[in-house]
Amino acid sequence: MQPTANTASAPRILYCRCAYARVVPNKVKDAVLEALAASGADFEAVPDLCEMSARKDKHLLEIAQQGPVKIAACYPRAVRWLFSAAGAPLNNEHAEILNMREAEADDIVREILPARKSSA
């Protein structure tokens, strides 16, 4: 294995843990993370999208510009403007935002991992 730059394949999966607040129900974010970890999918898990936005993290721009992405986080309006505030506006056609504050974990998993097989 060589430490090379990432070559993205669609759709990317981004999971926000919202680790610094208690607004996303634990049972939902735990269940979604459990499903992601049990799947065969590559994914990115971040402690807090808000923190990345405040840092103007360059990785947000890469996510916004590199094709389809599914984001498990909070309210879509908040997520879109967090990306925008970081100078990384999401493409509405490519980004699907799943709201762990409102939706059931099963529904989110169905959306984010359609027809994927579990690994290990």
Binding site: T7, A37, A38, K58, Y75, A78, V79, W81
Partner: protein, 288 residues
């Protein structure tokens, strides 16, 4: 450490590598490791492809895996910009593997992640009319004006944790706090009821007994009067406390914020500076 330092410091990202040259982790171990790393404040990428997923903005990357091939302890990625640390976690419990990342971070001189609750306003520019009320209202210099004359959130780390007051004075429901408990401030969609409430929104000027700027100027002028100063002190203090208590209740402002407010003179100076800036922007845009 100041929050500004928090926002600019380098980070260590973690990749859990399960591609060619490594055995996959057992699902339970993978989950426990990822959860542990997230709770410590690390960003984690699970990788099964041929890459370690070095990303823009990375300074350091820790790659954990059950490697079947020998890996160097350290390497530089092919962009030359990211230092990569490989660690074989074969036979290690998830907590031990997470502790390895702490060791790498410490050895690399990367600060511990976390330590700041990311609480700050986010502007919904689909709704914002650039009225500058937030700029005029905020006493902590969170807002600024961009080169194109647009209001912007400039100093996120100046914002007072759990204080959503500026969102409540926004007449267009354009200010979000994603970690707030209730909608639409938390980013939920704005509905007709929300807009009706906006029409009855707290009038800050009324709360403070009229034009806030004029009131502050009047108070300052009175303070200069030899005889009125003593007479007015008690009354001004009571009035201020009454207004602050009402603000605290109506705007959901934490007590800590009120206790850290600038002095009256500083408030006056800030308010006048913000008003001048806002007036200039509004005038230059033709009052739209």
């Amino acid at each position: 450490m100041s929050n500004s330092a928090t926002l600019t410091r380098p980070i260590l990202r973690v990749a859990i590598y399960e591609g060619k040259g490594a055995d996959p982790l057992e699902a339970g171990s993978r989950l426990a490791l990822i959860r542990s790393l997230l709770e410590k404040g690390y960003r984690v990428t699970r990788v099964t492809g041929a890459s370690t997923a070095a990303q823009p903005g990375d300074n350091s990357l820790a790659v954990l895996g059950r490697f079947t091939d020998a890996q160097p302890e350290e390497a530089i990625d092919d962009t030359g910009a990211v230092k990569v640390y490989f660690r074989n976690i074969e036979g290690r419990e998830p907590e031990e593997a997470a502790a390895l990342v702490d060791e790498i971070r410490s050895d690399a001189g990367v600060p511990e992640p976390g330590g700041w609750k990311p609480w700050f306003p986010v502007i919904d520019y689909d709704r914002c009319t650039n009225c500058m009320q937030c700029l005029s209202f905020c006493l902590f210099d969170v807002y600024g004006v961009a080169g194109d004359g647009k209001i912007q959130v400039r100093n996120q780390d100046n914002c007072k944790t759990d204080c959503p007051a500026c969102s409540r004075v926004c007449p267009d429901v354009a200010i979000l706090f994603p970690k707030y408990r209730h909608g639409p401030i938390h980013g939920g969609e704005v509905n007709a009821d929300d807009m009706r409430r906006e029409a009855m929104k707290v009038d800050i000027s009324a709360l403070l007994g009229g034009d806030i700027y004029q009131a502050l100027r009047d108070r300052s002028a009175k303070a200069k009067s030899r005889f009125s100063k003593e007479r007015d002190e008690d009354r001004a203090l009571k009035e201020r406390m009454r207004c602050l208590n009402k603000l605290q209740k109506d705007l959901d402002i934490p007590a800590e914020v009120l206790s850290s407010l600038p002095s009256l003179d500083e408030i006056q100076a800030k308010a006048e500076a913000a008003k001048s800036k806002a007036d200039a922007v509004i005038a230059s845009s033709g009052g739209d």
